[in-house]
Amino acid sequence: MSDDIYREIILDHYRNPRNKGKMAEADVSIHDSNPLCGDEIDIHLKVDGDKIKDIKFEGRGCAISQASASMLTEMVMNKPLTSVKDLTKDDILENIGLMNLGPARIKCALLSLKVLKLGMVKYYADRDPDSAKKLQEDSRTL
């Protein structure tokens, strides 16, 4: 099983994360951590009209959480907010190629999506309260 998880691509994203770092003048910044293991992710977003113009993450944690965050940034960069809003748990797990994680490790893989959703809650809070509320609900299930 470990051989399936710790494939070359995961270790590569873990050791050479894409879009990692701080962001000057982000439109939204948000932080959350996984109480299970203490993994932490910060996400910074720049939004342009209806699109994610730039995304960066900071974080520390296990290979799964950090590789997943790295891969998530690539996945949503330059994508319309509407499509990002609807990202599901399964989208993420498919993206990182880990469909068979147990419940504890799933939390690691989904932390960055949770943080991204919480960031969008913040972004939508005044602009579109209904979407904010829905995203808030979503984030609870992650």
Binding site: P35, G102, P103, A104
Partner: protein, 415 residues
């Protein structure tokens, strides 16, 4: 149909190993102390053994296989309970040790943040000590006032007193039992909650006696807090539940600080965990929460409607028979439909403790004393009562034995 009973009690009895037990040198056990604690079906006992035998592990904070299995089983129980009382979300279900801790949690966390000097907390004369003492401590600390809704000689709450308190516009919380553990009275919680809410006052329901014995739906009731104990509904000792509506829970400060209830601890500040974990500090009672799951399954399988029906049936029978015994005073509503399966009484000048000793000679377990309801004892002007209380495995033949033992007590005491 009711003649034969609403379900097959003989079959149910076989699921409870303790009911095969003989006491007092060979007498079959007649267990009529169910309001204190109920017996446990084999499935509950096995669920606990199975946990310790196969996947005992601390939960939430580890990735090894047993930790995952234990975490899943623990959290599945939370889901099951949410469904059982129809809570909107599992986040609203907090595990405590018992009803007592659940009510204390509300008094310490919500109470200390919200109850101020000169505020009123309204309870009733029928409350169990667990729904009195926490409010005494809180109101004394805050300089607030504790008010009691009285109970009439007929066993019903004096609702005009309750409405008068509400009209004072000083009430911060109403906390009331849905079913008295002494009188059996089922209280008008729907009306209490509705009229409290009209004034914006939250309501705590002590469900220690109601949740085990009748269908309870927290969303339909619209109560703000609900407390109950696993051990009174086929589950293990050491597990209680506090239900809190999410919007209230979100604003409550933590109660017990420690492991599992935090997200991040720094030297001088702490970020608390998400709901409901924020309120579950330290290693939980994992095995017994999992055991409780099997108890909920058992009750779900019977159907709470039928549990209630069975109890009305047997209580009616017991009330009928006991009213024929010379010298007996029965407390609480006369109509079995307005009460739970609890029959409190006195007989002549036999003290309840003496009566319980005599009953015990016959293998019959009843409770005697103040039933943790001394305020009610003062109201009834008795030091104590005897109490027989029923559950799903009790039969009319057991009621008959109980009546025979009453006659024997009368003979001994020459009444």
């Amino acid at each position: 149909m009711l003649q034969k009973g609403v379900f097959d009690v003989e079959k149910i009895r076989q699921d409870f190993p303790i009911l095969q037990r003989k006491v007092m040198g060979g007498k079959p056990l007649v267990y009529l102390d169910n309001a204190a604690t109920t017996q446990k079906p084999l499935s509950v006992i096995n669920a606990i053994s199975d946990y310790y035998t196969n996947y005992n592990s601390n939960i939430h904070r580890a990735v090894h296989q047993m930790a995952e299995e234990a975490t899943i089983a623990y959290e599945e129980t939370r889901k099951k309970i949410a469904k059982f009382i129809n809570a909107k979300s599992t986040d609203e279900i907090i595990f405590t040790r018992n009803t007592t801790e659940a009510i204390n949690l509300v008094a310490y966390s919500w109470g200390r943040a919200n109850v101020k000097k000169d505020d009123r907390v309204v309870i009733t004369e029928i409350e169990h000590h667990s729904n009195i003492v926490p409010w005494q401590i809180l109101t004394q600390e805050k300089g607030a006032k504790l008010e009691y809704v009285g109970v009439g000689d007929d066993g019903y709450l004096k609702m005009h007193e309750y409405r008068n308190y509400l009209d004072s516009n000083k009430v911060k919380l109403v906390s009331v039992s849905q079913m008295s553990n002494v009188l059996g009275t089922i209280t008008p919680v729907n009306e209490i909650i509705r009229s409290s809410h009209e004034k914006g006052i939250p309501v705590l329901i002590d469900g220690a006696q109601s949740v085990p014995h009748m269908p309870v739906d927290v969303q339909k009731l619209d109560c703000d807090f609900m407390a109950f104990s696993a051990h009174k509904m086929l589950g293990p000792t050491g597990v209680g539940v506090l239900y809190v509506k999410r919007d209230i829970l979100e604003k409550m400060p933590p109660f017990m600080g420690g492991g599992d209830m935090i997200k991040e601890v720094h030297k001088y500040e702490t970020r608390y965990n998400d709901l409901p974990y924020k309120f579950e500090g330290g290693t939980p009672n994992i095995a017994d929460v999992i055991g409780f799951s099997a108890a909920i399954d058992y009750l779900d399988n019977l159907g709470m409607d039928r549990v209630r029906e069975h109890e009305i049936d047997i209580t009616k029978y017991a009330l009928d028979r006991i009213s024929g015994v010379k010298g007996v005073t029965v407390y609480g509503p006369a109509n079995a439909k307005d009460r739970g399966g609890v029959v409190s009484f006195n007989i002549g000048d036999i003290h309840p403790h003496d009566l319980a000793t005599i009953m015990n000679d016959h293998g019959i377990a009843i409770r005697s004393g103040h039933h943790c309801a001394q305020v009610l004892m003062e109201r009834l002007d008795v030091a104590a009562t005897s109490r027989a209380s029923f559950y799903i495995y009790n039969t009319k033949q057991e009621v008959d034995k109980f009546i025979e033992a009453l006659d024997e007590a009368r003979r001994l005491f020459k009444i």
